[in-house]
Symmetry: C2
Subunit: 232 residues, 2 copies
């Protein structure tokens, strides 16, 4: 609650924090701007490893709060990321259509949950790590989707209706390649060793899945050593 | 999944089913049109009683599937409906501003979850029981909010992007008073005895809270006996 203190306190953001390199970079951006409340949504079995990364990142950036919400989407909306019976593809052609790792309405759900946190905590921004590579395949990673959601945020909330306080959807990585993200993260001193990207979620990154390959290419092109792989 | 069968099967809807009289009437509308998948979201302690009503209604209307999702919104976004330390008002002035029973971003979250179910099950409609009395106080019960969410639904989903299949947000009660809803429900043979409206969620409706008073007035004005109260 912000009653009585809104004028004096620093700007506050909600960050959707999966624990991957993209959301870690968003967290670093938001932390530089002001206070952060992190929201991690556990939506399937495969990503259990990521929550450890998210917790470590939240501690490192001294967030004001960190909500970890268990929300099993698998029964609602089967996908390769929530259902072990659907294979995670080793890698995909980025000119192809929507990939099997797409989780129906995932970003809509995540943004809706972040909106609840933002409204009740008096945050004025929601940071989400969608980026240029993702939105070639995922419908809910495109700028027009984010703009449409921002309109929903304005119409749905007490903040928007009574207080004329807009909650912005901020996607700082939207038009960045993975290489750009690594460079941006280096500038912001993102502790890459604390992040986790691999879809498979074992003890070490598999280095074969889509997420591992994208990550490796980003680091290689940026000329940066990925400590998560270097320590293997 | 609808592969191969979309042309021949009846239209399919997702119904947000709380177990109250409004969502029960929506369920009856949707069931008359075609197949139904019901979605009940348990978002706080107070509404535990409603899930029993929702299950009974789902059985009565022979839904194709019924998802019951436990999603504790209380820690994310405190409200009188999710936090026992905030009093539920006995009744409120309907000319007033947003009431304390407003749950931040609730309908956005519910519609986002319903969107996931709709997309993965091949449904073309989401029925939601928001109505004319609610939207005087709740920002996320207004037609402009529903229209904005429908735009999100089109942009966020594979259905909207690749298949040019729009998922409609249907709010059949939007402009109805509680009296109108009772009359509509009577016409559709809604089993009122299976529904539950009371915010307090005891064994019997408290008949003092906002929801009980609205319900009682609707039945009284429609000249219908509410079996839930008559049997008390």
């Amino acid at each position: 609650m912000v009653a009585g203190s809104r004028g004096s306190r620093p700007p506050r953001s909600v960050v959707l924090l999966s624990g991957g390199m993209d959301s870690a970079t968003c967290l670093a951006e938001a932390a530089r701007r002001g206070e952060v409340i992190a929201l991690t949504v556990l939506y399937g079995q495969r990503h259990a490893r990521e929550v450890r990364a998210a917790r470590a990142l939240a501690r490192r950036f001294r967030v004001r709060g960190h909500h970890v919400l268990r929300l099993p989407l698998g029964p609602l909306a089967p996908s390769a990321l929530t259902d072990r019976s659907i294979a995670v593809p080793a890698a995909r052609d980025h000119r192809s259509r929507i990939p099997p790792t797409y989780v129906p309405a995932r970003n809509t759900i995540f943004l809706a949950l972040a909106l609840a946190v933002a409204e009740s905590s008096g945050a004025d921004s929601i940071y989400v790590g969608v980026n240029a590579i993702d939105y070639s395949g995922y419908p809910d990673c495109r700028p027009e989707f984010l703009e449409a959601f921002e309109r929903v945020a304005r119409l749905a909330t007490r903040a928007g209706v009574e207080q004329h306080r807009r909650i912005r959807i901020v996607a700082p990585l939207l038009r960045l390649s993975k290489r750009d993200i690594v460079e941006r993260g280096e500038h912001l001193r993102v502790p890459w060793a604390l992040t986790w990207s691999c879809y498979r979620g074992g003890r070490r990154p598999c280095q074969r899945c889509d997420a591992c390959r994208l990550r490796a290419r980003g680091f290689r092109e940026a000329g940066v050593v990925d400590p998560l792989v270097a320590s293997a």
